[in-house]
Symmetry: C2
Subunit: 565 residues, 2 copies
């Protein structure tokens, strides 16, 4: 018996929701097409997310290319660290992700945190052999997971497809800071595709090589990791699995922060925001929890990191959103690599006088000594704190060494007026996996039942997520009913409401087709409609019916089925 994933996927394929990509050519693992209804669902999820992050929270949204030059991803650490351990079968040549083989053999814990030596040890100790041909496996080798390409044909200039949309936001920090008129905190989001060249993707829609992401980067002052609206949500309950206990526990956000379970208010606020979004999108209460990263899982620079995990009947708890306090890591990395200043200014309430020791170079001596580099040496000395500086000073500027003799400078106490101090922003990052959320919404909504002895499927999508908002049915295909139904259909569409006009088969059969793909309302136009200008609106979940005036339909649907907050 096929399990829920297989049955759901069969329905999705049959009804134009998801197809395996390039299927007529045998398909390509890890790539999927979103069919006419699936693409609508995906867009509805994106638009709901936008209404949370852009309209409600006031984040800016930007769009950057997927093609990314080498330097950017070298700076971010992806060139060196975005790897999985690959093992190859010595006999049939098949490739596998080493940590997946170890996990599937029953290893408890996070196998993806093991290094090559430890993985080789586990493979030997557990007697793991090639899943395809049962032969011996080779040693584990780290393999970079970015899709690599060349920018400019024949140019030799290396680039990659972005592994995440976040880097486009970090590299734009300066532009964004100006856009927000140099006021912190602010958030910027990007919705778009990310790429991960998986070694052997096997979990269907959960492990895609090209996938949808929705990422927010909230830039905050490291001294103020709070949120102006935290007080409004501090009594909200949230289900946590703290790293310290590993056990599921419910508590309020306020409690979690004050007890130090969640590291700061800003992070806690966005965990709650994530919860609200996921419930609004159709994730079932009780099937969502937040699991804290174990020290072995967490990136070295992160202050704290939680995964929103959603429960699947097929896959168990699945990581769908990661919410991390990434400290200043990303912005600092790009400052260092690009040489551009990406700092922000912490303005004082009023200008302050600061007394400091300045190094004053004697340019008459510096000029002959350093020639063309003299200005650079001067600028470096200008930027230094003169406290304690004496004797000959050795400088290292961009890897080149300079010796500044003691008689070519003096140290002087100066009083300067300053309006603030510069700092590198910290980043709170909620990062959402669109396709996993898509699948989970579908699985939670999918109800396989019976009606009059026949299998009957209802997909209980939220109206804002449903790909079709209204089925439009003339009761019979004559007497002017199709013409009136068609007019209603056109009118609803003119208000941005996606419909499905259908005049074939019994009304029951038409309801069934709409119930299966999650259409929340069906409108039936009958002979009475011609007389009194009303139609029957039938609600999917209750199957209740009411008569609605035709001219009230647009506002009925705008209110009930379009996704604003």
């Amino acid at each position: 018996m096929a399990d829920v994933y297989d049955r759901l996927f069969m329905m999705c394929k049959r009804r134009g929701i998801v197809y395996p990509a390039f299927e007529i050519y045998g398909g390509t693992a890890g790539l999927f097409d979103f069919g006419p209804l699936g693409a609508e669902i995906k867009r509805n999820i994106q638009n709901l997310w936008r209404s949370f992050y852009v309209l409600r929270e006031g984040c800016a949204e930007i769009e950057c290319p997927a093609i990314t030059p080498f330097e950017v991803l070298k700076a971010s650490g992806h060139v060196d660290e975005f790897t999985d351990l690959l093992v190859k079968c010595q006999t049939c040549g098949s490739s596998f992700r080493a940590d997946h083989l170890v996990e599937e053999s029953g290893y408890e814990g996070a196998a993806d945190a093991l290094d090559a030596v430890a993985i080789d040890g586990e493979i030997a100790a557990r007697g793991i052999r090639c899943p395809e041909c049962k032969s011996e496996l080779g040693g584990a080798t780290p393999m970079n997971l970015m899709f690599s390409t060349e920018i400019g044909p024949g140019s030799g200039r290396r680039g990659f497809l972005r592994p995440e949309t976040a880097q486009g936001i970090f590299t734009n920090f300066g532009n964004l800071y100006r856009f927000f008129r140099e006021k912190m905190p602010f958030g910027c989001v990007q919705l778009g595709r990310g790429y991960r060249n998986e070694i052997s993707p096997r979990q269907g829609m959960l492990r895609m090589r090209e996938f949808g992401m929705m990422e927010a980067e909230i830039f905050v002052d490291p001294l103020e990791k709070t949120h102006p609206r935290f007080c409004e949500v501090k009594n909200e309950m949230i289900t946590l699995v703290p790293a310290s206990t590993g056990r599921e526990t419910g508590m309020t956000l306020g409690e979690a922060v004050s007890k130090g379970v969640i590291v700061n208010e800003a992070l806690a606020y966005f965990m709650n925001f994530t919860k609200e979004f996921l419930f609004a999108a159709g994730i079932k209460e009780g099937l969502l929890r937040f699991r804290q990263h174990l020290p072995t899982e967490m990136a070295h620079y992160a202050n704290d990191c939680w995964d929103a995990e959603i429960h699947s009947e097929r896959f168990g708890w699945v990581e769908c959103v990661g919410i991390a306090d990434r400290s200043a890591y990303d912005v600092e990395a790009h400052m260092k690599s690009s040489g551009c200043d990406l700092s922000a200014m912490r303005r004082y309430d009023e200008p302050r006088e600061i007394v400091r020791k300045r190094i004053i170079p004697d340019m008459k001596k510096m000029g002959p000594l350093f020639k063309g580099d003299a200005a650079k040496v001067k600028a470096t000395l200008d930027g230094m704190d003169g406290e304690g500086v004496c004797g000959d000073v050795e400088l290292d500027i961009d890897g080149k060494k300079y010796l500044v003799p003691s008689d070519s400078y003096r140290v002087e106490k100066v009083t300067e007026k300053t309006i603030g101090e510069r700092f590198v922003p910290h980043v709170i990052e909620p990062s959402y996996g669109l396709d996993r959320i898509f699948y989970m919404i579908m699985e939670h909504a999918f109800e396989e039942g019976e009606k009059e002895g026949e299998p009957y499927t209802v997909t209980h999508l939220k109206p804002s997520i449903a790909p079709i908002k209204a089925g439009v049915f003339p009761l019979v295909s004559k007497d002017g009913l199709p013409e009136l139904a068609f007019k209603i259909d056109r009118t609803l569409r003119s208000f941005g409401i996606q419909t499905c006009y259908d005049e074939s088969g019994t009304i029951g059969r038409r309801y069934a087709r709409m119930d299966e793909v999650g259409t929340p309302y069906c409108i039936t136009i009958d002979h009475k409609s011609l007389e009194d200008g009303t139609v029957t609106v039938r609600e999917r979940d209750t199957t209740g019916q009411e008569r609605v005036k035709i001219e009230e339909l647009p506002s009925f649907f705008s209110k009930n089925a379009l996704g604003f907050f």
Copy 2:
């Protein structure tokens, strides 16, 4: 003096509309970031386009991966033919597009239609040298323009980034045909990114390596290239530049089709549809024309092809949309390469009896003769027309030859009932370049004037395209006005209306900031608002003001500034 492109781009950069991508790393030619306002404009153009093609025209929308396996693009012809001629400087090593150098030297006509020998001839005859260092150029070499990559790290499986979104639609024809319950004609669209690894992109936003596309593929019966609503538009005027005369001329669509200037009604319908969309998006009348491809430009399989050209003050006439009758080329190519049936059925009004000659193999003889291949040979004979077949029959199946002796089959006259006949669909393809349309809308909207002796810019974007629908201004930052303004701001956002809350500077300065980025309306909250619940709404283009009740604002904006038809 900077020209309009440069001045506009400076404004776009300053105001968060478009940035050069990866600028802190020195930028990458042909890649751009859309800033907070630019990403909104882009999405608004996409959503307006959707309201035309998906909501109004009833097309399905799908989403396919950008990563595409080799086989698909081999079949489509891109592996062999998606090339430009590259010339390299013998001295400094810079690369150039040969046809661009020839065009820039004053060549009249389409230099991109010249082959390598002809281009080399032109370069020699015109004495064209390296634009960078004035040295001699090497010979022209065809260079494939697809970004190439590997699917699965270390797998050796070649793939490309899609050069167009269309192939994802063609390869899904079977799925789409079922989705539309096997009824023709139907349309399918895809909005997404395309990739073209330009040799040396130099025209800014007009020649991007990663760009937005909006493509529609209308599948039609080759015997019926009409459109059900052609009669509604046949008297619409359209500006044409037919290949036969090369001169701009206005005529009605009906006239253009009946005179054979446009090859069929379906193509003419979508040319007009394109015109309507572009005007709705803000392209100025008089600055749009449709130019027919010259025989040398047109793909060999195309029946007819027109470019919608929009006039730019900087670039002259720019191709922004291509509308082609691509015949059965694409679907046939994928049928042949994949071996899958992608044909459609032309149903007869009632079943017909057809008398045909069938070849009946004698399986007692075929079995021993062809062993494991016997079934394949039988299937091939079954599919053949028996008319005129006699003697030994030689078959070629997948490159393997079989000799069927005369005594192993007989030919028989049979009467068969058939409900229709199969055909390969033809495709009408309107294909839109999103970024070029974006730039043209901006250029047409951009008005640089003066106000009180100071430069003053108004960008006359259509309300549906404008990134911000309303500026929300408390007259002063006290007396409870900011609180009321903030509440109005939140309410509008809850209806999906993007706003910009601003309380800094004079009202005039705030209007100026909004005028520059094309905000159609500004709302000012003053002391009277506290008393009578009304606010001032100021219209950008007329600068006229009216008092509107606060509770009527959401419907005012839904009606005036959201982009439904």
